[in-house]
Structures are given as structure tokens and as C-alpha cells.
């Protein structure tokens, strides 16, 4: 379960992250590009808007200055009487609704020599045109010292005043256009006076203030000094300047922007408002007055559509990723579901149940291939385990049969000691330890007649069942022929011929066969390729190997000739017979026990009791082997001659 879970999780994680990344990059690029395009478009629109507004203001101002200029030029070309002058001013005011007030201010004594100052001014009030003599109304300071009079005179050109609130006119924002006019006498132009026209800026500022861009974007008008003339926030009009705002906000950028505006430049800038919102502003100068018109709109609103679009796209993308995740989960589940069921089944298989049904595989994909492999594996495992079970059963059967064979073989050899409790002329003892369950070694002893004991030891080539079978035949033959013939050489040659008759596999046995005359201690013996026995004589210090003629092994070749030899055992002498399992016993270092160690052991072994002697040799061999596995059957037989006297005594 853990594995399948992680496959689905990994798939979802990787695919979702990758697609989210791709989507985010695309969306980000799209947003950035849209914004760039939008900003360009915006600049164009802002410029157009600002220009058109500026033109509109310009047009209005220019029309006023043209009328004013016309009056000034009229006064230069003709000498107007006081009545004519009044008519001109009244007509000008009547014909130009946009002009609030119009007047002419003369230089001292320029209109007539009798009066120093003369400045008639007409203005509208409550739908009527009223006259006010400025030389009389400026009581504190004569008009000739006022800016509107002095500046155009000094500069010699039309001058628009800084806008101001006309107290008398009811707090209307006004501006005054002043144009000088001259008198030419004797080729020299003298300033004769200044024509003055007041206009109300209410309609202009109304127009500008009413401009709305997007939601909260607006247009504003600034005077030459940075004074706010038109702004959606009425309170700031004529109360604040660019520079005072920059001062209060400690905003150097705003101050720089103000300087640019005063210089009459135009531009498109991004600036931060007091509230911290980012705003775009396009500003353009109004040439005739040196004012600046600006259009302002917040960036947020500008980008609102892009944002909305981006958000929509993001929502769609998220939805897409969600759908993708569902698809991935579906695929991962369809991949891992058969795997999960396969895992469940293999757990059952692992617990040893091979008859469990594997999940059906419709598809030919990897999972299907895996399932088929599992099916094949289960079949193979079943087959293997059945074979193993059969083999084990067969092996157990063979083992039990071999166990029986071991018992049978052991029971064939005389095992009861003392073997002849009634016979005191000799002692006999023997043992046989097979290397496998059954062995090829054997020994035997039996009486041929009352006084002749036949004893023999044999070693069948090889070990195990074939050797054991051969041993059975050889032992039976040797006993029956031994009892019949009574001579060692005859026994061997007779048995050899019987064995050789059908012996293609060349099985053979080495046999030492001897017959003891219990009356004299004489031993007649013949050898068929067996190890020479050891004689342990009472009157000798050391045991000795019996020198004997080799004789060919028993079994493979018919008509082998065996020679009879003889020796006489004195009272107390012992003859020790053994097979090569004794002398060829190996230790872990592969060293053989050997004939010399055997002789030494026989010399050191306790005398008197043959069972002790043989057990002693056996333990010596074991000691030498030092845990190394027994490779051959170990068989020993010993006979001690006690003398005929013993028997007579007994009797």
C-alpha cells in the first residue's frame, strides 16, 4: 500500500508542480506584456487627452487676449474721446460674454493733460454692465504700481496675471489679461497705457474638474507658480501649490516635477500619491499663460482589466491543474490497483499458499506481464516443491531402508563377546564401524571343527550399498566354503572363482583368511591383497607386521593363485587384523594415521583384555581424526592365543 500511495503522490506532485510552474511563467509573461502594451496605449491616450484639454483652455484664453489686443491696437491707431472710449469698452464687454470685465488704464497725463490718472473699467454684475473708475477705486496705491499694469508695460507684451479670487465679484476665480498700447511721436514709441480684461476661470476649471478618467482619474490645472487652479478636490484650489505639497510631504520627486512644469515642459511620469497609490500623470503646458495641465490616473485602475484577466486565467489554470490532478490520480490508481491486488496475492503466496487465484489480466501492459510472470513463477514453485517433497520422501524412504540395512549388516557379523565362552584357548574380539550407513568391511570367525577356528577380515572395494551387497555375497561364500574346505588357500581360490564368474564391474575384496589350531597355536593363513596383520608377541618388545605374500584381491580375475603360509602363536601372543580404514584415517590436515602410529599405539595399549585393546586403538584413531569425517569403514579383529593347557585345565 505504501508503494502505490507514493507512486500516485509522486505523479501528482511532479505533474502538478510542473504544470503550475509552466502556467505561472506564461501568465506572468502575459501580464507583463499586456501591461507594457497598456502603458504605451495609455501614454498616447493621456497625451491626447491632456493636449485636447490644454487646447481648449488655450483657445479660450487666446480669444480673450485677441479681443484685448484688438482694443489695444484700436487705441494706438486712433485718438478716442472719453465718450468713444466708454462706448468701446461697453461694446467689447457686450460682445464677449466670456469677458467679465474690461478697462483701459492710461499712463499719468497720457489721456488728457488735465488729469493725472485715468482708468475707466466696466464689469458685469447681476446682468448689468457697471462702470468703476479705477483711478478712484485704488485709494491706497495708485493702479500704476500694480503688477497687472507694470509687468506688461515693462515687458512690452501681453501678460496674464496669476489667478486670483475677485472679492468683489463673489469669490470667482479670475485672471487678468493685460496688454500695453503705445503712442508713436517723432519715431519713438511711448507707453500710453494698458488694456485690461478680466475673465472668470470658473467655466474652465469646471470643465477640467469634471473630467473623469477611469474611476478616480482626474485632470488638474496648475498656474505658473504651481498653484492649483482646477482639481476635483475643491478645497485645494488656490490653497496649495505643487511646492507646498512637496514641502509638506518631503517629496523631492514632486518638487522636481513641479520645476519641470514651471519650465513649460511636458511628460509622462509615474508617481506615488499621498495615500501611497501609484499614479500615472501626463502634463502639458498652456503656452499663453505658462500654466500646466495634467491628467492623472491610478495605476491600479489602469491595470484593473489586466488584473481581472490574469485572475480569470489563474482561476482557469487552477481548475485545469485540478482536473489534471484528478486525471493523474485516475491513471495512478489504474496502474497501482492491479499492483496492489498483486501485492496482496503475493503476500498470500509468500505465506505458502500456492493455490491462490492471481488477479485477472486483461491488459497486455507491464502489470499484465508481471502478473503472467507471477503465474509462471507459481507454477514453477509448485512444480519445484512437489519435486522436492517427492525427493525428500524418497530420501527418507531410502534412509529408513538403509537404517534397516545397517541393522541387518550388523547382525550378520558376530557381535556377542565373549563369542565362545566355553573355549579358553583363545580370546577374540572385533568391531566394525561403517563410514556410511552400510559398509564393505567385514570380519568373521567360526569353527571348522572342534579344534580349528577360522577367522578372517575383509575389505570390499569402495563403500556404501554396492560394497555392502558384495560384502554379503563374499561373507556368505567365505563361511560356507571355509566350513567345507578347511584350508585358507583353497577357501580363497574357490571363493575367488565363484565371485569372478560374473563380475563385469570388477568389484573385489581384500581378504586375510586364517585358521588357528587351538591345540598347538599354529596358524595357517592366506592373503588376498589385504593389509598385513600385526603380531603382538609376549616375548618381544615391539609389535610387528606380519611378512606375507601379497596375493591378488578376491573377485575380479578367476584362477588367481593363493599361497598358504603358517606361523605359530605362543601362549599370550596376539594377532591383530585391521582394514585400511584404520591406517588411512585422516585428520583435518589430510594426514593419514599410518602404520607407524598404529604400531606405537598397539605397543602402548593395555594388554590382557582385547576389548580394551580395540577400543583403545579406536579412540586413538578418533583422536587423530580430530573431528574430520570418517572416510572409510574402520574394522579390527584381534585374537589372543591362551594355549591348549588352559583348555585342558578348564576341562
Amino acid at each position: 500500500m505504501q508503494g502505490s500511495k507514493s507512486i500516485a503522490t509522486k505523479l501528482i506532485l511532479v505533474i502538478t508542480l510542473c504544470s503550475a510552474l509552466i502556467f505561472a511563467v506564461t501568465l506572468g509573461y502575459n501580464y507583463y506584456q499586456s501591461r507594457l502594451v497598456l502603458e504605451k496605449e495609455l501614454e498616447k491616450n493621456a497625451r491626447n487627452l491632456a493636449m485636447s484639454l490644454a487646447n481648449r483652455v488655450e483657445r479660450e484664453l487666446v480669444s480673450v487676449s485677441k479681443v484685448t489686443d484688438g482694443v489695444a491696437r484700436s487705441l494706438e491707431t486712433a485718438n478716442y474721446s472719453e465718450t468713444q472710449l466708454h462706448s468701446l469698452l461697453q461694446a467689447t464687454l457686450a460682445n464677449n460674454q466670456e469677458i467679465y470685465g474690461a478697462g483701459v488704464a492710461y499712463e499719468p497725463y497720457a489721456f488728457r493733460r488735465t488729469s493725472r490718472l485715468f482708468a475707466p473699467f466696466y464689469f458685469r454684475k447681476n446682468g448689468k454692465i457697471n462702470l468703476i473708475p479705477l483711478e478712484a477705486s485704488y485709494t491706497d496705491l495708485p493702479y500704476v504700481y500694480w503688477d497687472w499694469y507694470q509687468i506688461p508695460g515693462e515687458l512690452g507684451k501681453a501678460e496674464w496675471s496669476e489667478p486670483y479670487f475677485d472679492e468683489g465679484g463673489g469669490n470667482i476665480l479670475m485672471s487678468t489679461c493685460s496688454i500695453p498700447f503705445y503712442e508713436a511721436s517723432g519715431g519713438v514709441r511711448h507707453l500710453k497705457g494698458v488694456v485690461k480684461a478680466d475673465i472668470t476661470l470658473a467655466s474652465l476649471t469646471e470643465l477640467i474638474s469634471s473630467v473623469k478618467i477611469l474611476k478616480t482619474g482626474y485632470a488638474a490645472l496648475f498656474s505658473r507658480n504651481g498653484m492649483i487652479l482646477a482639481h476635483p478636490v475643491k478645497e485645494s484650489i488656490m490653497n496649495e501649490t505643487f511646492f507646498s505639497m512637496a514641502e509638506s510631504r518631503h517629496d523631492n520627486a514632486l518638487r522636481q516635477l513641479g520645476k519641470k512644469m514651471v519650465r513649460g515642459e511636458s511628460g509622462f511620469v509615474l508617481y506615488k500619491s499621498e495615500g501611497g497609490t501609484r499614479n500615472w500623470m501626463y502634463y502639458a503646458p498652456i503656452r499663453s499663460t505658462g500654466w500646466t495641465l495634467a491628467v492623472v490616473f491610478p495605476e491600479d485602475e489602469l491595470l484593473e482589466n489586466v488584473r481581472k484577466l490574469s485572475l480569470t486565467m489563474a482561476a482557469m489554470g487552477l481548475g485545469g491543474i485540478f482536473l489534471l490532478s484528478i486525471a493523474v490520480i485516475y491513471i495512478a490508481r489504474s496502474v497501482t490497483k492491479p499492483l496492489r491486488s498483486l501485492v496482496a496475492v503475493t503476500e498470500v503466496i509468500a505465506s505458502g499458499n500456492f493455490d491462490v487465484e492471481l488477479p485477472s489480466t486483461r491488459s497486455s501492459d507491464e502489470v499484465g506481464a508481471l502478473t503472467n510472470s507471477f503465474r509462471f513463477m507459481i507454477t514453477s514453485l509448485k512444480e519445484y516443491i512437489r519435486n522436492l517433497t517427492e525427493t525428500t520422501a524418497a530420501k527418507e524412504r531410502i534412509q529408513s531402508e538403509l537404517k534397516v540395512a545397517t541393522d541387518i549388516q550388523a547382525s550378520l557379523l558376530p557381535r556377542l563377546f565373549p563369542a565362545f565362552p566355553a573355549r579358553s584357548e583363545f580370546d577374540v574380539y572385533a568391531s566394525m564401524d561403517p563410514a556410511k550407513e552400510v559398509g564393505g568391511d567385514f570380519y568373521d570367525f567360526f569353527f571348522i571343527d572342534e579344534h580349528h577356528l577360522c577367522f578372517l577380515i575383509a575389505d570390499v572395494a569402495d563403500k556404501g550399498v554396492p560394497a555392502a551387497l558384495y560384502m554379503m555375497v563374499a561373507k556368505t561364500l567365505l563361511k560356507s566354503e571355509g566350513q567345507r574346505l578347511g584350508e585358507p588357500e583353497l577357501i580363497l581360490s574357490c571363493v575367488n572363482n565363484i565371485l569372478a564368474a560374473d563380475n563385469d564391474s570388477c568389484m573385489f575384496a581384500t581378504v586375510f583368511c586364517a585358521i588357528l589350531d587351538t591345540r598347538s597355536g599354529e596358524v595357517r593363513f592366506a592373503n588376498a591383497g589385504h593389509n598385513p596383520p600385526v603380531i603382538i608377541a609376549m616375548d618381544s618388545q615391539k609389535p610387528q607386521y606380519l611378512a606375507l605374500k601379497a596375493g591378488f584381491v578376491l573377485g575380479p580375475i578367476a584362477d588367481s593363485v593363493y599361497n598358504a603360509e603358517r606361523l605359530t602363536l605362543k601362549q599370550g601372543d596376539t594377532i591383530f587384523l585391521y582394514t585400511d580404514g584404520v591406517t588411512e584415517a585422516k585428520n583435518p590436515e589430510e594426514q593419514l594415521y599410518g602404520e607407524n602410529l598404529l604400531l606405537q599405539a598397539l605397543q602402548d595399549a593395555p594388554k590382557g583384555n582385547l576389548a580394551d585393546l580395540i577400543h583403545c586403538i579406536r579412540s586413538e584413531v578418533n583422536r587423530h581424526a580430530n573431528g574430520a569425517p570418517q572416510s572409510d569403514d574402520i574394522t579390527m579383529l584381534a585374537i589372543t592365543y591362551r594355549g591348549a593347557g588352559a583348555a585342558i585345565k578348564e576341562n
Partner: protein, 112 residues
Amino acid sequence: MNIETSKESTTMVVKVTGRLDAVTSSEYEQKFNALIADGETMFIVDLENLVYISSAGLRALLATAKRIKGKKGLVSLANIGGSVKEVFDISGFGSIFPMYNSVASALTAVTG
């Protein structure tokens, strides 16, 4: 055990190295059966490097010799020494096989 063979004119010289016992004797027999099947009849078995021979080894030696004899062939032994010679002496095998002190003298005896 290791078995090397070389052909000297009509005679196959088989050099046996190591131990010839119950474990290796079947291998020895198989090798000879293959050579007999190839039509070889004259063999000299070089036992100079044979360190040990068990009764099973003797049986294999004898069985192959008997089989070769049945094909009118002959097995001679060369370079028998040490403990192997003792085994041969005790078991009477020395009187069954023609034995030579060297492969060369065996070859001379066989071909001459």
C-alpha cells in the same frame, strides 16, 4: 584428480595427477570409456603424480583394464612409486599389470 592425455603413435598416454579414490574413480572410468569409444586400445597410464589410490581407485583401474582387454587392448602402468606402490604390493595388483619405470620404457616395451 586431473587427467591429461597425449597420443604417442598408436599408444595413448594417460597422465593421472592427484588422488584416485571413491570420489574421482567414476570420473576416471568415464574418461577411459570415452577413449575406448574413440577406438583407442593401447594405453600407458603414467602414475608418477598420483599421490593416493584407494580400493575404489584400484577397482576403477581394474575395470577399465578388463574392458580394454576385451577389445584386444592393453593397459601398462608407468612410474608407480611411494604409497601407491605399497598399495599395489599389498593388494597383489603389481602382478596383474605390466609395470615400467618410465613412460619411454613402457612405450618401447609396448610398441617393440
